[in-house]
């Protein structure tokens, strides 16, 4: 089966204010097949978010240099014209981020913001776009839809907002959704609900999901395959079950909270903390 997304030798470097170039990502490559959930894991700063932004061409040209190829259904997204990218963003590939509270325009009703996404891609009347927004709100479990539609972001809770962002991402029926730490700012219950919702929807809509998260529990719930990143490079990749049962690299073991052999690599050094303190 032909891959939906093929990332090949992707490198990203950032230009600091002093002119110095730092390489954030160096020669990363992976694939996402249709209907597959690929998890991207690694400690913070390893370049996962940069990869997500680079796929959609959202890094500013003045600050970042992207090289390599990101191939979506045969088209290379790196260096693609902004107009063409705009057509793909939201409609073919969608991105949801970490903090829903600041990912929505604070002075526009959330329903209108969903309708905007529809209107941006289909030449429908506003009436029809709004209807579409209502139906996607129902799909993500935000009922009653007319009340949520008319709400402003500051009137909704974190869990509700993240569902709104998800609705925005799904409303045009993309083939691939990139979720960058989608539950990081939610509390435990909202987290669990959101992961369940994501799992359910991706099955029903038959989407591919590129799930970026450093939390092994979340990857365990959703991912088919895993890609381990460290310092901008791919350390290990493969099916989740294989990596969990038989991690080849101690870093992978640490990320998946599997106790490694007496550690050498820095972050992998995680002995189980025995309860401390004076015995009572």
């Amino acid at each position: 089966m032909e891959a939906l997304l093929k990332v090949d030798d992707l490198s990203i470097s950032y230009r600091g204010r002093d002119g110095r170039e730092t390489t954030a990502v160096g020669g990363v490559g992976f694939q996402v097949a249709p209907g597959e959930t690929v998890g991207l894991m690694g400690e913070s700063g390893c370049g996962k978010s940069s990869v997500a932004l680079a796929i959609l061409g959202l890094l500013e040209k003045e600050r970042a240099t992207v090289s390599g190829s990101v191939s979506y259904r045969g088209q290379n997204l790196v260096g693609m014209r902004e107009r063409k990218l705009e057509k793909l963003r939201g409609a073919a590939i969608s991105l949801i981020g970490q903090e829903p509270g600041i990912s929505l325009c604070p002075v526009m009703r959330v329903g209108a913001q969903i309708a905007e996404v529809v209107h941006g891609h289909k030449k429908w009347s506003w009436e029809k776009c709004r209807e579409e927004a209502h139906s996607i709100l129902a799909r993500v479990g935000l009922e009653p839809t007319h009340r949520i539609f008319a709400a402003y972001p500051h009137q909704l809770s974190g869990g509700q907002l993240q569902r709104v962002v998800l609705a925005q991402a799904l409303v045009c029926g993309p083939a691939l959704v990139i979720a960058d730490e989608p539950t990081a700012s939610l509390d435990a219950r909202s987290q669990a609900d959101f992961i369940a919702l994501l799992g359910d929807l991706k099955q029903r809509l038959r989407m591919s999901l590129l799930l970026i998260s450093h939390t092994p529990e979340i990857q365990a719930s959703l991912a088919d395959r895993l890609i381990m990143m460290r310092d901008g490079c791919v350390v290990e990749e493969g099916k989740f079950d294989r990596l969990y049962a038989n991690p080849a690299d101690p870093y992978t073991a640490a990320m998946l909270r599997r106790r490694p052999a007496i550690g050498d690599c820095e972050p992998a050094e995680s002995e189980r903390m025995a309860p401390q303190g004076v015995a009572r």
Partner: protein
């Protein structure tokens, strides 16, 4: 509604206090209108005293203030000693002229500042931004006085525009259209100059507000959803950036009676600012107090307008979670 009521009460109290203080400060300034008469050896000081008494200037301060206040509440703002007419009528005409000038200039300034500022922010550090930056810096360094003198010089040299005043003496036809064009021609230079004087600050503020918003996460998120850039600029970014701009607009309205002083003096526009300066030097007490009060009313109204606009424009202030 309660909010409005509260603000109005605050405003009235504030205005009362302002009237009292301006009256008091003027009282403390040495001399009065008739001092110039005293210098004239032909007029005896008894005559001057008699005239003073006629105008009630020999009464003690609290009495004069109380009398003025009572009159003001009934609409009578006193008598102008220098121009021998009621203060109300005098400043009414002058205020209208000033508002015509500053209103036009303010509208022009905002109409120019918004697109320039937005374009500068959207195309940051590129040609448009650099050119606008240079122009605004240049305008900022030029003193207003110099600017208006330059315009005056321009009018004199080219003769395209009248060199001062609001109407031409030669024009006494009462047809609306001819009066309109006459005033319009006179308006061009002072309004243009005033707009240029206001422009740099406005452009800078619009640009700064837009830049700050354009760096917000929700703008990048909207881009990520494929929303076209221009739509993000006007439908997403500008409404959020408009909070500080609305405040600034309120400030523009608030200072509308006082910004045009220099323009009025240099280009002889018969407005309130010029009258204010003349009256201060002539110690024309009631005129000065009335102008201060009118300016204060504008100030208070401008701020109130800004707050109401903000309420209407920003749902976060209007509603609460």
């Amino acid at each position: 509604m309660k909010y409005l009521g509260r603000r109005l009460i605050h405003a009235i109290l504030l205005l009362l206090a302002i009237s009292f203080f301006s009256f008091a400060l003027l009282q403390m300034a040495p001399g009065d209108y008739f001092d110039s008469l005293r210098l004239n050896p032909q007029i005896s000081s008894q005559t001057v005293d008699k005239i003073r008494a006629q105008y009630g200037l020999d009464r003690p301060f609290p009495v004069r203030y109380a009398l003025w206040l009572r009159g003001a509440l009934e609409g009578d703002l006193g008598y102008s000693l220098a121009s021998h007419s009621s203060v109300g009528r005098l400043i009414g005409v002058r205020a209208r002229n000033t508002l015509l000038l500053s209103g036009t200039a303010t509208a022009l300034a905002w109409l120019l500042a918004l697109p320039i500022g937005i374009a500068s922010a959207a195309k940051r550090r590129r040609a448009v931004d650099r050119a606008a930056g240079l122009a605004t810096s240049a305008l900022l360094t030029v003193p207003d006085l110099l600017l208006f003198l330059a315009l005056l010089l321009f009018a004199v040299r080219t003769g395209w525009f009248p060199t001062g005043g609001m109407t031409s003496a030669a024009n006494d036809e009462s047809s609306f259209w001819s009066t309109f064009t006459d005033i319009a021609f006179h308006l061009v230079l002072p309004a243009f100059g005033l707009a240029l004087a206001m422009l740099p600050t406005l452009v800078r503020h619009v640009r700064a507000a837009m830049i700050e918003v354009l760096e917000a996460r929700f703008v990048r998120a909207a881009r990520g959803h494929g929303i076209p850039r221009w739509r993000i600029l006007f439908r997403y970014a500008l409404p959020v950036a408009s909070n500080p701009l609305i405040q600034l607009f309120g400030f523009s309205v608030a200072t509308m009676l006082s910004t045009s002083v220099i323009a009025e003096i240099v280009l002889s526009w018969p407005g309130l600012g010029a009258l204010m300066v003349e009256s201060i030097f002539a110690r024309d007490l009631y005129v000065v107090v009335a102008i201060v009060m009118l300016s204060s009313i504008f100030l208070v109204a401008g701020n109130l307008l800004a707050d109401l606009l903000l309420l209407a424009a920003d749902p976060r202030i209007r509603t609460e979670s």
